[in-house]
């Protein structure tokens, strides 16, 4: 029953299904119509669903998110595309002060079933502002759900689950994985949107990661197993809320944890995961929770991004350091 497709195609298929399933779903963003988005995630959707359901918006992110909030109040389920990670900040006030709180402000009377899709992360050789990892800003914001698929299969289901959710969802798409293929087996029921997944089981240490670095961590774990080390890989998938039960269960098994992400280290998701693990698994931990992340500086020119971002070697180095405790 499985089909092999890229994450880009899987997202496109998921959006298509959502548009088919619910006439209240609409897409809005810059260049998502005729062009199908700069990454072609919405390709042919305007052709097939019309310009009222797949809307080319004026070049103004706050406007896109703010008007979509209005549409959501009217009963629509807007799916907004931010063209690149670095262009979400002009919409920050609308997302963080308005979208995230409308339910709370209205004391539960109003819902904002909005999805904000953001292609994110680096390693694509881009100029500045095109390789950001803004997830921690959103995960620190109550009222938002923040999720990120690591595979085409997850992408296909999670985008539909996000659209079906009555909470606003920041949906982070690891753009460097857009064009990698994976199996999309539709016979399996999808995992819950807020669940982490053990991608690889192991007993010596756990790599916690998400989005673009799931694959890298799996590669690192496989490399480590060649050296006789049994490394577990957990794809967090949901960054807010975090799947505490799954995180704790893995640490209880392995006793060692390393969090890996592209965002800068300070106050990245790794900080929260580490803080929770040391609190929840204090007696189990055989080593401190380590973090492998970008260094605490702005994203550098692309020719040095490979040194700036975590890679297989830096992950293995952290595994070594963890096991050395």
């Amino acid at each position: 029953m499985g089909e092999t497709m890229t994450m880009a195609k899987a997202l496109n298929a998921g959006l298509r299904r959502a548009l088919e399933a619910d006439p209240k779903v609409l897409l809005a963003g810059e260049d998502i119509g005729k062009l199908g988005g700069v990454f072609r995630i919405t390709e042919h959707l305007q052709r097939d669903f019309g310009p009222e359901r797949v809307v080319d918006s004026p070049l103004a992110e706050s406007g896109i998110v703010g008007t979509s909030l209005g549409l959501a109040l009217r009963g629509y389920r807007p799916v907004v595309e931010i063209q690149f990670d670095g262009f979400v900040y002009p919409a920050f006030d609308q997302i963080v002060s308005q979208v995230s709180r409308m339910r709370f402000r209205s004391m539960g009377r109003l819902s904002v079933p909005m999805v904000i899709r953001i292609p994110y992360g680096g390693s694509i050789g881009a100029i500045e502002h095109h390789s950001e990892s803004p997830e921690a800003y959103f995960a620190h914001t109550p009222g938002l759900v923040v999720v990120t698929p690591g595979t085409p299969l997850d992408a296909y289901w999670m985008i539909q689950q996000a659209i079906a959710s009555d909470d606003p969802v920041v949906f982070l798409e690891p753009k460097r994985r857009y064009h990698e293929k994976g199996e999309v087996d539709l016979t399996e029921p999808p995992l819950a949107l807020d669940a982490a997944r053990v991608v690889l089981q192991g007993g010596d240490a756990t790599l916690f990661t998400y989005g673009p670095l799931v694959k890298t961590c799996v590669e690192a774990a496989l490399a480590a197993s060649a050296e006789g080390r049994s490394i577990e890989v957990v794809d967090l998938r949901s960054l807010s809320p975090l799947d505490d039960a799954a995180i704790r269960a893995s640490v209880e098994r392995t006793g060692r944890a390393i969090v890996v992400h592209e965002a800068v280290r300070t106050l990245g998701i790794g900080a929260e995961v580490a803080a929770r693990i040391q609190e929840g698994c204090f007696y189990t931990l055989e080593a401190p929770v380590l973090r492998v992340a970008a260094y605490d500086m702005p994203y550098p020119p692309s020719k040095v991004e490979s040194a700036y971002l975590p890679d297989l070697d830096r992950i293995l180095d952290a595994v070594d350091r963890s096991l050395a405790y």
Partner: protein, 387 residues
């Protein structure tokens, strides 16, 4: 070197459409009732209702002012944390509020108390926000009056988006007017400087959304005079976005109603957005925390007192014999009853409990948040046991 700042030049206004048509009438704004209570004609706008409607407007203005005065007094007595008075802006609010029909929706800022009352919002529910016993506690869908909005300008985008939704829902341009609706979006003169408001104009124009932007230019954004935001008349702002625009005497409830009805009607018919500048004055403080003596002259306040929006309507209606002293006495009694209800109701508002709020953060409560709640409840229970 001096960075000079002149006040806005004298300008021949008035209605300007994006097509460039300029209806010049050598007057400051659209006015149908002078401060002296005399009807005057306008070459474009007419007030198409009888005296009963004007009397209804007077009633709303008087009740709105009473509500406002009571709330201000309650704040002075420590019963509210804050109150933003609307004194002086009653005609702008009631006139525009009276133009709202069947399916229309209102997106207010935080000062549209009179509009709120007209939409059937319970004044006690409104006080909750300022007393700190609730977030915004009214059913915005039932009343078609959306939540008060405190981050300046943000609601203008929500209004446009909502109007885009009404467009999609087929509520625009139907031959049967009863099936049509539009959005009325309120904000202040200061708000026009916010990027969000400009973006709202862009989106409204681009999609020809059925929305009316209603700016109460009350001359001040806290301590900043209008000249800080615009050196030319504010209604002109919208023209550059391709949006028709009118300046109206915001203290003339007849003119405000006429202009707003025209604009809402255009929107409902599918003729696109309109921008209305209601030229008015904030006679009181910005909020009860504010002290206007620090930044504006008494004479200015006095000048505007002479243009009071309520006095002129009363004069007019009494002169016409449409109302009499008995009518006014009855209205006073109604206002007094409202005052009593507000005073007694406010102090009786129940205090909330933090427990009530956890459930409002998400549609589905995340387990970690439920854990926090449970820990909180256990912790609080510990205190109760102790005592």
């Amino acid at each position: 070197m001096t960075v000079t700042r002149s006040t806005s030049e004298a300008e021949p206004p008035d209605v300007v459409t994006p097509g460039g048509t300029r209806i010049q009438r050598g007057r400051e704004f659209v006015q149908l009732l002078t401060p002296q209570g005399e009807r005057v004609a306008d070459d474009v706008f007419a007030f198409d209702h009888d005296d009963a409607v004007i009397a209804a407007n007077l009633r709303h203005m008087v009740l709105g002012r009473r509500f406002d005065a009571e709330a201000t007094a309650l704040q002075r007595k420590g019963q509210l944390g804050l109150w933003p008075p609307a004194l002086g802006q009653e005609a702008a609010q009631v006139g525009s509020g009276a133009a709202i029909a069947g399916l229309d929706e209102v997106f207010p800022s935080y000062r549209e108390h009179s509009v709120a009352l007209m939409r059937g919002i319970d004044p006690l529910d409104m006080l909750k926000t300022f007393r700190g016993t609730a977030m915004v506690d009214w059913d915005s869908r039932a009343h078609r009056f959306h939540l008060y909005s405190f981050v300046i300008g943000t609601q203008s985008l929500h209004a446009v988006g909502y109007a885009m939704g009404m467009q999609r829902d087929g509520l625009v341009g139907n031959p049967d007017q009863a099936g049509n609706g539009a959005v009325l979006a309120y904000f202040g003169d200061g708000a026009t400087s916010q990027g969000d408001v400009s973006e709202a104009l862009v989106f409204a124009a681009s999609y020809q959304a059925p929305v009316v932007f209603f700016v109460q230019n009350n001359q001040w954004a806290i301590s900043e005079p209008i000249e800080v935001q615009s050196r030319i008349p504010l209604y002109r702002r919208a023209i550059g976005f391709g949006i028709s625009s009118v300046r109206v005497d915001g203290n003339d409830v007849l003119a405000v109603q006429a202009v707003t009805e025209w604009a809402l009607d255009r929107a409902r018919r599918g003729e696109g957005p309109t921008f209305i500048e209601a030229f008015t004055y904030r006679m009181g403080a910005h909020t009860t925390s504010d002290d206007p003596t620090k930044y504006r002259r008494r004479e200015e306040e006095q000048q505007w007192k002479a243009k009071d929006p309520i006095a002129r309507v009363r004069t007019y209606l009494l002169g016409r014999g449409a109302i009499d002293q008995a009518w006014l006495d009855a209205l006073d009694a109604e206002a007094e009853a409202l005052g009593v209800r507000i005073r007694e109701g406010c102090t009786a508002l129940p205090n909330p409990r933090l427990e009530d709020y956890w459930q409002h953060a998400y549609a589905g409560m995340p387990p970690a948040l439920a854990e926090q709640r449970d820990a909180y409840l256990a912790y609080e229970a510990g205190f109760e046991q102790e005592s």
